[in-house]
């Protein structure tokens, strides 16, 4: 069992044109910066990206939009990106908007080996169009299918050589359900440690879900909305 790869280029070596990829993070928080750069460098096209957001113009998934590598985004909120808007309005880019909880739970369903889940979000709205509705205890629910994504790319704070992952603060977000919901999961971590160096009680994602891991470099960790209060 050797899950450790050299770098992002090696980690994404078998991602080809037309691939469907889950990408972890919320806004710019906890995004897999190294793998996004490697995908841009590799130039793979016609990608379907399952990601809560689409980055900003010059960072995150925005970098892959700029190079026109993305065919379709499956997201809950995409409002922070002018190039995104341009491609969407010109018809170059397809977008499937999904309620955020449904997006997370469709990842989780894949992680838990469940083909579908019943959720209330979207009942009576245009999100329900074409979906199966069933009543449980007097309440209507929509049938939502588990994602079937060949690749998931996530960023964790720490990882070990067995693929066990630990996240920091609000970076667990979509990284955790996606790490567990992808067929092949690639994890980039700020610090890669030997097996045994992480307290087993502190593992967030067990290594069984992780197939490739590497220590990323030069994390920018850009802040999207820098908000502060005065010291007084």
């Amino acid at each position: 069992m050797n899950k450790v790869v050299k770098d992002a280029d090696e980690a994404i070596m078998d991602i080809t044109d037309g691939a469907t990829i889950m990408l972890g993070g919320f806004g710019l928080c906890g995004i897999p910066e190294n793998c996004i750069s490697a995908l841009v460098k590799k130039g793979v096209k016609d990608l379907t990206c399952i990601s809560n957001n689409a980055g900003v113009d010059d960072f995150g998934i925005g970098l892959m939009l700029k190079t026109r590598q993305v065919k379709k985004m499956i997201s809950s909120y995409v409002g922070e990106n002018a190039e995104f808007e341009r491609q969407l309005l010109s018809g170059e880019l397809e977008v499937d908007l999904i309620p955020q909880g449904t997006l997370a739970t469709r990842c989780m369903a894949a992680a838990y080996g469940m083909p579908a889940v019943w959720v209330r979000a979207g009942v009576g709205t245009e999100v329900a169009e074409g979906k199966e509705v069933r009543n449980f205890g007097g309440v209507d629910y929509l049938l939502e299918y588990a994602f079937d994504a060949p690749f998931a790319i996530v960023k964790a704070w720490k990882g070990d050589t067995h693929g066990n992952l630990v996240f920091r603060k609000t970076t667990r977000n979509f990284n955790m359900p996606m790490a567990m919901g992808g067929k092949i999961t690639i994890a980039e971590v700020e610090e890669l440690v030997p097996a045994g160096a992480i307290d087993p009680d502190h593992v967030h994602v067990p290594g069984i879900y992780v197939h490739r891991i590497f220590q990323g470099k030069q994390y920018e960790k850009r802040i999207e909305q820098r908000t502060v209060r005065s010291k007084s």
């Binding site: 809950s76 997370a104 609000t170 502060v228």
Partner: protein, 219 residues
């Protein structure tokens, strides 16, 4: 008539000791500033946090610690982190006591529209559909009329819906109203200096006025 902070101040009175509260973006975020000291209230941020604290002081910003509006925030004693699936799990399971969010339109049946204007750029619903479908208690914080001067309290919503029959209460710059399906917008309180007639004029849906309507206490 209230300003945004006045609306937030009035909504803060709906927050009870021991509540877990989810605050949406905009006016709802301001509510946190007016929750009375001494109440034990925990703020939930749907990107994966219970126990959201105020903005950090300059220099203490942490890119790994943001709220659902992508703003830098801080922890409080007792904060817990989790992932997005669990976050919406606790929302769906009804563990969050109160959800406060903004709206473009609310109908007299309690339907809400706040995510899409057809023909304009659509940014997405984020977590709003999940929140309104699940929360036991939803309060809408919004202006009574839109920028074109049209009422946002309607017999039926004209914009694509976010959720159906879910809004319980509305606080605007003019009034506090309870939404009672089958009845309409029941006027509970008037903003200081605002008359019932002014509220009636700004409400396109059915306004129910029962007896004397008191002025809000926003002290």
């Amino acid at each position: 008539m209230l300003d945004k902070n006045g609306i937030a101040r009035r909504i803060a009175k709906e927050v009870k000791d021991g509540y877990y509260v989810n605050l949406g973006i905009g006016i709802p975020t301001l509510v946190a500033n007016y929750i009375p000291r001494g109440l034990n209230v925990t703020l939930q941020s749907e990107n994966g946090m219970l126990g959201m604290g105020p903005f950090p002081v300059e220099g203490d910003e942490d890119p790994d610690l943001i709220n659902a509006g992508k703003q830098t925030i801080t922890e409080v004693p007792g904060t817990a982190y989790f992932d997005s699936a669990l976050s919406f799990g606790m929302i769906r399971a009804g563990k969050v006591d109160l959800t406060i969010l903004g709206a473009m339109e609310v109908s007299e049946e309690g339907d809400i529209a706040n995510w899409k204007i057809p023909g304009k750029m659509v940014k997405g619903m984020g977590g709003a559909m999940d929140l309104v479908a699940a929360a036991k208690n939803i309060i809408v914080a919004m202006q009574h009329v839109n920028k074109a001067g049209e009422s946002k309290l309607l017999p039926r919503c004209s914009l694509p819906l976010t959720g159906v029959k879910c809004v319980k209460k509305i606080v605007t710059e003019l009034a506090v109203l309870e939404v009672v399906p089958g009845k309409g917008f029941v006027l509970l309180e008037r903003a200081p200096g605002v008359t019932v007639e002014e509220i009636r004029k700004a409400t396109a849906g059915k306004l129910v006025v029962e007896g004397d309507v008191p002025e809000m206490d926003i002290a």
